[in-house]
């Protein structure tokens, strides 16, 4: 089997690679969205601690 035959997927290239591509997108989205949520919560926390410190000073 050569590579161009492999990528052609017997004429179903768009459907097969579209599906695997979509899977890659969904997995990447999940990781990125989770990281963004962690970051935004951290930022929010740092903000409140800074405010609290400014108040107590």
């Amino acid at each position: 089997m050569n590579w161009s035959e492999f990528f052609a997927m017997g004429g179903y290239a768009l459907n097969v690679w579209g599906s695997y591509g979509m899977a890659a997108l969904v997995l990447a989205f999940n990781v990125l969205a989770a990281c963004r949520r962690v970051k935004s919560v951290r930022r929010e926390l740092e903000e409140t601690t800074r405010l609290n410190q400014a108040e107590s000073e």
């Binding site: 979509m22 997995l27 926390l45």
Partner: protein, 245 residues
């Protein structure tokens, strides 16, 4: 009690932080092995040709869409009955992950349906009930986002998730109860010679991908739960200690 110890958000936060890298590595190994098996080792189908490889994404994604929903509804129920904050957070964190797997199942199903059935979409029982599942996830997220008070948001979400549980057996049995375009189960059904109606060379990548997706779900769930814990425990001493510069 051990269970109660790990159910404390503070202890769980630290435990999850230790588990995430291991789960991430396991996901990568399983995904790599599953993709190799599915794209290179498994043979083309005698009827469907190479398009059958969509199955190794589509079927695990569809299984996950239902499994994550059951996790979400169970966590919601535990939070509702025993007033357990960590369970509420698990339900909230599950929803976007489950919705994304449902979308993946719908899109790959469409990409597979076009060459095999001649249509991207049909309003048949399996497809329609899976679409309803997607809307249940979106409804759960919208409902929780609309309520500011965390306890009330968790309660409302859990009730919605539990009512929506009715849809899970409907999805599963839809191919038996109604005359659908969608094919019936091959993995759980046994053929005339007493083996699963799917060949081991195709069953192996299918199961490996399903395990890979499950471990991936666990990884992202723990990441999201850690964020939820920090957010909801932000007024406690231990969180203040944690973010202290």
């Amino acid at each position: 009690m051990l269970f109660h110890k790990y159910a404390s958000p503070k202890v769980f936060y630290a435990l999850a932080g230790q588990l995430i890298p291991w789960f991430a590595v396991a996901t990568l190994i399983l995904l790599g092995y599953g993709l190799y098996q599915g794209l290179f080792v498994a043979p083309p189908d005698y009827q469907q040709g190479e398009s059958v490889r969509i199955m190794f994404i589509h079927v695990p994604a569809a299984w996950m869409s239902m499994f994550v929903y059951m996790v979400m509804a169970s966590a919601g129920a535990i939070g509702l009955i025993w007033n357990m904050r960590l369970a509420d957070m698990a339900a909230t964190a599950s929803a976007p992950i489950g919705a994304s797997f449902t979308l993946l199942a719908l899109v790959t199903g469409s990409l597979w349906g076009k060459p095999m059935w001649g249509t991207w979409w049909a309003w048949d029982a399996r497809l329609t009930s899976e679409l309803l599942l997607f809307f249940l996830y979106l409804g759960f997220m919208a409902l929780q986002a609309a309520i500011d008070e965390p306890r009330r948001a968790a309660r409302a979400g859990a009730l919605l998730a539990l009512v929506g549980m009715v849809n899970i057996p409907v999805i599963h049995f839809s191919v038996q109860w109604w005359n659908t375009l969608h094919q019936p189960a091959s993995v759980s059904s046994i053929n005339k010679i007493g083996t699963p109606a799917i060949h081991p060379s195709m069953l192996a990548p299918l199961l490996i991908m399903a395990v890979a997706f499950t471990v991936f779900f666990a990884t992202v769930l723990l990441m999201r739960m850690r964020a939820e814990i920090l957010h909801r425990e932000r007024h406690t001493g231990w969180v203040a200690e944690l973010v202290k510069p």
